[in-house]
Each structure stands twice: as C-alpha cells, then as structure tokens.
C-alpha cells in the first residue's frame, strides 16, 4: 500500500509540476483556438445538410469522400489520399409493415428494415405474430410454435443504466441475431423492438447478420411506442402482420476511406485520430458519425494552426463502411500491416458530439497509468473518466496488431434517443459540445505525440 502511494506521489509530483505547467498552457491554447475558431460545426452542417445520409455504396457516400478529402486539404494536411476498399452494397427500397387485429382492419406501423437484411422481394409475407420478451423465453419455445409465425422480440432498453452504452450492448444481441434465430425454428421474419432510449415511435435501424447455412429471413424494427401497443394488443388477441420490403444485398463495389496527415518532424511513427464517414440511410448521420469526422479534421487543423511541432505523423482517417461491414477499418489495418507502418496510438470518436467526459483506454497498464497521470490537465475541460477499457470498431484491427487504442467518451444520455434514426440530424448537435470534444482529442494527441 505504502509503495503504491509512494509511486503515485512521485508520478503526480512530476505531473503536477515539471512539465505540467507548459502542458496546461498548451491545453488552454488548444481549447481556446477550437472554441474561438473551430470549423467543426460549420463543416458538420455542410456534411449533413448538403450531402446528408451516406450509406456505403450510395452516391452520397462517394460525394462525402470528395468532401472529406477537400476538408483535410483545407485543414492543412501535408498529404491527403483515398484508400480503396471493397464494401458491401445494401439497398433498402420500399418497405411497409401492417398489422391486423380481430376487427379485421389493417394498420400501418412505422418500421425500418435492419441493415443488411433481406427483404420479401416486393411480395407480401404475412403470418401470426408471437411475442417473446427475452432470448431465454425464445429458447424455450418449441419449433412448432414458431413455424410460419412472425417473431416479435420485445426486449426493452434498460433505462436504469446510467451508462447507456451498457443498455445498448445488452439489447444488441436481439438486433444482430434475431433473424437467424427465427429462421432456425421456421419463423417467417423477425420484428425487433428498437434499441432506443427515447419514448417515441421512431424506429432505429442498425446492422444484423445471418448465420451461415440458415435461410435468410427478413428482420425489421419498430419504435418503442408501437412495440408497447403491439404488446398490449397481443395480450388480448391474435395479431397478424404483413411485411412487404424490397431491401437486399446488391453485391460489392470499390469505395474509399479518406486519409490526411501531418508528417512527423522527428519520425514517421503514426498517431491516428478517426471517425467513420459512412452513416445509415436515414437521418443525416450527424452524431453518428459526422461529429467524429469533423472532430478528427479539427485535430489536424488545430495542430497546423497553432504550429505545434509534432514529433510523429498525425493522421486523420475517415473510415468507410463502419455501419454495415467495417470494411474500411479492416482494410486500414491490413494496409498498415503490409506496409509495416509503425502505429503508436489510435483514437476514434464514434459516440456522438456531446460534451466530453473521458477517454476510454484499451492498452496495457503502464500506458493506461501514464495517461491517467495526466488527469489534472484534463479536469478543467470536464474530462475525468479514464476507466473505460474499450475502443471503436474501426480501430479494432489496429488494436489486434498491438496498437494502444482509445475512444472519446462523451456524455451518453442523449445518444440512443436518435442513434441510427431519421432524428439523427444536425439540429441535435450543440456547437460547444462538439468543439469541446475536438479540443480534448487534440489535447490527448498533443500529450501522446510529446511523450510516446
């Protein structure tokens, strides 16, 4: 015990005095530059309002590639390039869900197909709905009770968790695997209650996947209000559902991640800051993840603007295809390996442009402890939480190669109200919150660049 305190004292003593004054001045310069002159908010307006949503394979995505390359050049990157990657093409098309109760009338329900789901080929598929509240309940259902039925997975987002990501992950299995579970027992398609913290009827899309060798039945999602109403109905009577959807996979095509960098003054080791450029095909992809994109570009711009002499190369990566394939992240990792690039550190911002609260660190203990020793530098910016041990999916391939990775942790209360929905629009982003996130990432990268 004494020893730990001794070490900590020493660590903090050094941090609190030695370099820390210089660093805290630099922190202030960074935040002042960004809060006064940051371009992230206006750039996000351009990305969301002029390009809008940008699903992999769409024309809008290709536009956003050109846009991001230009913005990186404007930010003063020494080098900007596109990294080619094959991405899956999934198209939504027309879709509708109707339900019929014992009075015989059909009623339309607001719905979205889950991403990468198969459709019904434009034909009506109908059947009786059965509801389960949990996977355990579904496991116990014999196949004959599911055969030719439509399974409604009505698992609620747990409002009790303060960290909404925990509730999101907890409910996530339903979205990912419900279709194959349904098919295994002969069901016709799956309806999933949206992974949403909101109290409205907005459906939240998101990725799903099929198990191999299992027939591919459609999976769709409905909003919380509709799910509640459907539950009430099902308790009293038989309900039939009719789905018609044209969605489906349309093969693959080449697309691009966008990369811009400021070359290292001392060596060519790389520090990555990134977000994903693609979004779902509803809403405007503002928080998810337009925010991460403009924040990453802001980091480069700020280094340039303040003339910070970076030791290592600082690279902003706008990853392709995070939402329905993470092909951009995988390709980036693969190329890094092939080229034998030395990556020192990677951070992603993909949890919305809300007020920053911390940085999640997926790395070894000494590295983690070193970053934690900078706590007092970050506290004036509202950043106190370094306890998370996860990082974003786009930089997971780098992590697997042994690169220490991190993720910006913003306030999580509002994200899942709008995540993957038509409500994820520019208006939901606050300028100061967004910019403060960029400031914190720039500050962290400044520290890493200086100390690693």
């Amino acid at each position: 015990m004494k020893k730990i305190i001794g070490t900590l004292l020493l660590l903090f003593g050094m941090a609190a005095f030695g370099q820390s004054k210089e660093d805290s001045i630099q922190f202030k310069k960074i935040s002042t530059e960004i809060l006064n002159n940051g371009k992230g908010y206006n750039e996000l307006r351009e990305l969301t309002k002029t390009i809008g949503n940008r699903l992999s394979g769409s024309e809008a995505y290709e536009k956003s590639v050109q846009w991001a390359a230009q913005k990186l050049r404007d930010a003063g990157a020494d080098k900007v390039w596109l990294q080619e990657v094959m991405i899956p093409v999934w198209v939504r098309g027309k879709e509708s869900l109707n339900i019929q109760t014992s009075n015989g009338r059909w009623k339309s329900i607001k719905m979205l197909s889950l991403g990468n789901s198969e459709g019904t080929g434009g034909k009506d598929v109908s059947g009786e709905i059965i509801m389960v509240k949990s996977l355990e309940e579904y496991d116990q259902l014999p196949a004959e009770k599911v055969k030719d039925k439509i399974v409604f997975f009505n698992y609620s987002f747990n409002q009790g968790n303060v960290q909404t990501f925990i509730s999101y992950r907890d409910a996530g299995a339903y979205r990912r695997i419900a279709a194959s579970l349904t098919a295994k027992k002969g069901g016709k398609f799956a309806i999933i209650r949206s992974l949403s913290s909101a109290f409205d009827d907005i459906p939240h899309t998101g990725n799903m996947r099929y198990d191999e060798n299992i027939s591919k039945v459609p999976a769709i999602t409905i909003g919380n209000t509709s799910a509640d109403e459907l539950e009430t109905l099902l308790k009293k009577q038989k309900v039939t559902a009719k789905l018609n959807s044209n969605c489906g996979m349309k093969g693959e095509k080449p697309s691009h991640s966008v990369i811009g960098e400021i070359t290292g003054k001392k060596d060519q080791s790389i520090i990555v800051v990134g977000g994903h450029l693609d979004s779902w095909d509803v809403g405007e992809g503002a928080h998810d993840d337009g925010a991460g994109i403009v924040q990453s570009i802001e980091v480069l711009r700020t280094f340039k603007k303040l003339g910070i002499q970076n030791n290592h190369t600082i690279r902003a990566v706008c990853f392709a295809n995070e939402e329905n394939g993470t092909k951009g992240g995988k390709e980036y990792g693969k190329v890094a390996k092939e080229n034998n690039e030395k990556h020192l550190f990677a951070i992603e911002s993909d949890a919305g442009g809300f007020s920053p609260r911390g940085i999640s660190l997926e790395m070894n203990e000494p590295q983690r402890n070193q970053i934690k020793s900078w706590l007092n530098l970050f506290l004036p910016y509202g950043v106190y939480n370094f306890e998370g041990k996860y990082s974003g999916s786009d930089i997971a391939p780098l992590h697997e190669m042994g690169v220490p990775t991190a993720e910006l942790v913003p306030d999580p209360q509002r994200y899942f109200d709008i995540h993957h929905t038509e409500e994820d629009t520019f208006e939901k982003v606050n300028r100061r919150e967004l910019l403060l996130g960029s400031a914190v990432m720039t500050q962290l990268i400044y520290m890493i660049d200086k100390n690693w």
């Binding site: 004292l9 903090f12 003593g13 609190a16 005095f17 303060v162 209360q413 100061r432």
Partner: protein
C-alpha cells in the same frame, strides 16, 4: 514548496483511489457503515430512471402553463399546479408564503435602425426586465458603439450626451464553464443602465448574453441605482443583429428609433410554495429549492422548470422508496427569482424569525442537463465531510466538488450560516436558450433531467443520514 508538493499529490491520489476502488468504504476505521451507500444510491437511481415523473411534469408546466413571469396569471396557474402536484405525490404539509412581487409589464416594443440616409429596418429586441419604456413615444438618437470599459472612460464629457449606447461585448467563448463567462459578462459595468445614464446617453442597447449564434434576443434584468437621476430604457438584441450593427457602424452613422411601452406598476404579492416531509427523528430542516417564476418569453423550461420538477421528483422518490428521513426534507419553490428576488429574501427572513435550524440548503437552477457535480458553499471543514462521498456519486457521472459558490435563490441563507450547495450540470447548452423564447420543453432531454434528480436525491439522502 515542499509542503505543497506533498499536499497536492495526496489530494490527487485520493481522487484516483476513490475511482479505482469504489467498493472501499471511506468510513473511519472501526465504524461500520449502517448502509451500503452504493446500494442505496442505486435504488434511488433505478427508481427515478425507470419511474420518474419529472419529464411529464415539465411537459405540463411548460406546455400547459408556459411562461410564468412574476405577477402574471401564468404564475398564479403555476402555483395551483405545483400545489396539486405535491398533493398527488402524497405530501401533507404544503403551504404558501406570500412575498412582494414587482408588477412590470413589457407591453409593445420595437427597435428600428437607419444606416446613413437609408430606410428604417426592424431589429428583433427585448426590453430589459423592469426597464423603463419610452411611454409609447419614439426615442430617436445616434448609436455609439462601446466595446470596453476603457473605451467608455476615454469618451470626453458630453460625447455620449443624447446618444444611444450600444454595448457589443460577447460572452467569452473560450471559458469552458459558461456560467463563469456569463457571470463575467453580466457583471460588466457597461451593461448597467445606471452607469450608461450617467454619461448623458438616452438609451442602452446590448448584445445578448448568449452562447448561441442566432438572432434570438435574451432577456436581462435591469439595475437602476436608487440615486439615478434618470432611468434610461435598456434593451437587448440577438448576436447576429449585433454583429451586423457593429459592421454597419464601422462604415457609417446609424440612427436608432426605440419605442417601448414597458412600465413598472408598483407591487403585488406572489407566493413561494413550500412542501415538506417531516423528519422522523427531529425537525431540523434540509431545504431544497428552485424558482417557480420564469421570464415572460419562451416556456421557462431549462430556467427553471427543470429545477421545479426535479425538486418534486426528490420528494416523490423518497415517498416511493418508503425512506425514513431523520430530518424534515422541505422543498421551496421560490417566487420572483428573475426580476427582484423577493421570494428568496422572504424565505430567509422567515427562517431567521422562526429560528428554524437548517442543516443544509440546496438549489438547482442551471438547467436540466447531465449532472457533473455539486458546488459546495460552506466552511472548508464541512466541505471535507462531503468529499468522502465522492466515490458513491462517481458512477452517476458526478465528480466535480471543487466549486464553492451557490449564488441562486438559496444565497440569502448564507447569512444564517447554513451550508449551501448547488447542483452543477453540464453548462455547454444553457446559455443558448437562457431567458429567451428558445427556452422550451423540447430542449430538455428526459434522461439528463432525471439523472439530475438522481444526484440531488442522493445528496439529500447522504446529508439526512450523516448530518
């Protein structure tokens, strides 16, 4: 130097330790904590996050009643509504405490400007609260831009005579805590009608104190000094208009025409609403408060409808959990916070007169945003009693206990030596909407609002158990 060296790292390591080992009890060796505070905190949080009614109540208050400026029918309706709500959650002790309330009527108001010999152009504006008007007549004059105190001081005597002073000082965007930048801007002498009147100027126009980048004007309370010879009218304009006006003034002479029927019409009374759950052990009081009144624009959602419904949520939760409180837990919904502060003065006077022992007073008036901490306005010794509780709060995102000022409706209680605290929330969005027509229900997020109520209830619980 050495001493600082040791104390600072100790403090910091304490912070880290509490983060690392939340399971460790901070209780002194030998004493066994009666409660598992982590469990108690979780119970409070689960109850509020899953069954909380604050958000729906805020909907009723903002959409059903709307703005509730002092001495208006809106305030009277809010009083009835609040009493009904307290009854619904099972509170038996509810009473009113009448306080003086100034009657100020905004009436009609307009601002027009003319650049050079051009046409008159309308500018969106709001009169300062309690400002004198122009009695419905046009007040016309040349605008003079003042951007700093030194500029004002550099003016020779008579230079501002009969002019209209335009103060265009923005809130400092680089200050992270926007409450700090607001207070800094609000304290400026430049936006005092009293100071400006002494120069002989006829009226004051200010750039709204806001972090937003739109054209919404934000209301502001006026300060006339008792010895003011003239009370000049004052008004605010949105930041876009302010930027444009500054640009125009750099090129040419600009004339303003102000017409305001605003006037003060004496006083009436408005009640504070008080509701309490009596203590099971004694009648010492823990008081929690928020302001029931609002400005007359918008819906008074983040200022301070959110505080009102959070206070109600605290009482509802204590009831729902069947909590046996030692001390009396009391909510005061203050009247007239925005344009006079009569409600808070009345409550403090009442406490003094009755010599009621108050253990603790807390306020929530910074918007229903995600909580981040508590500002502790109390003796350093007492503050140190709160610090060991940090670890229980940390899982709820509440980590900042370093601010030391409680400035809102509970501030008069400071004179009575009562330990004060204020909920500290994320400050980034508040001044985008504060005192403007943008302060509406849709700006409030349900989870953020409820989480604030969670933190307050947890703090009240700790104080009730330990003090």
């Amino acid at each position: 130097m050495k001493k600082i060296f040791i104390i600072l790292p100790l403090f910091l390591s304490g912070f880290l330790f509490s983060q690392k080992k939340p399971q460790k009890s901070p209780a002194k060796k030998g004493t066994v904590a009666k409660f598992n505070y982590h469990d108690e905190f979780r119970k409070i949080s689960d109850e509020i996050m899953t069954n909380g009614t604050a958000y729906n109540n805020l909907g009723e208050l903002t959409k059903g009643i709307g703005p509730r400026f002092s001495a208006t029918p809106g305030y009277a309706k809010a009083v009835e509504w609040a009493e009904k709500k307290f009854k619904e959650i099972g509170i038996n002790m509810i009473w009113r405490q009448e306080a003086k309330a100034p009657v100020w009527i905004r009436g009609k108001e307009s601002l027009q400007i003319k650049a050079g010999n051009g046409d008159w152009k309308n500018i969106r504006m709001l009169s300062f609260g309690n400002s004198e008007g122009t009695a419905g007549k046009d007040l016309t004059g040349e605008i003079v831009l003042i951007n700093s105190t030194s500029e004002l001081n550099a003016m020779s005597i008579g230079q501002l005579k009969d002019k209209i002073v335009f103060v265009n000082v923005p809130m400092d965007p680089k200050i992270i805590n926007t409450s700090d930048s607001y207070l800094q801007a609000a304290k400026s002498k430049l936006i005092s009608a009293s100071v400006i009147a002494k120069t002989g100027a006829k009226a004051l126009i200010i750039r709204s104190l806001t972090t937003a980048n739109d054209d919404t004007p934000h209301a502001k309370m006026i300060y006339y000094e008792p010895d003011d010879k003239v009370k000049i009218p004052a008004l605010s304009i949105g930041v876009r208009s302010a930027d444009e006006l500054e640009k125009t003034l750099k090129k040419q002479k600009v004339t303003a025409k102000i017409n305001m029927t605003a006037e003060s019409k004496g006083d009436t009374t408005n009640p504070n609403i008080i509701a309490e759950i009596q203590g099971k052990k004694d009648s010492k009081v823990i008081v929690l408060g928020a302001q029931l009144d609002s400005w007359d624009v918008g819906e008074g959602a983040v200022d301070d409808g959110t505080g009102v419904v959070q206070c109600m949520e605290v009482l509802r939760t204590l009831k729902a959990l069947g909590y046996e409180n030692n001390h009396t837990i009391r909510v005061v919904l203050y009247a007239n916070s925005e344009n006079g502060g009569q409600g808070r003065e009345m409550y403090a006077a009442y406490v003094k007169k009755k010599d009621e022992k108050h253990v603790f007073a807390m306020g929530t008036d910074a918007g229903g945003y995600s909580p981040r901490g508590f500002s502790l306005d109390m003796s350093p010794q007492r503050r140190r009693l709160v610090y060991p509780w940090k670890e229980y709060f940390l899982p709820y995102g509440v980590y900042d206990f370093d601010q030391t000022e409680a400035i809102q409706d509970i501030s008069p209680l400071k004179k009575l030596d009562i330990p004060l605290a204020e909920l500290v929330v994320d400050t980034q969005r508040y001044f985008d909407y504060h005192h403007s027509e943008q302060d509406t229900f849709d700006k409030v997020n349900k989870r953020e609002l409820l989480l604030g109520a969670v933190a307050i209830t947890q703090m009240i619980f700790m104080v009730d158990k330990n003090w």
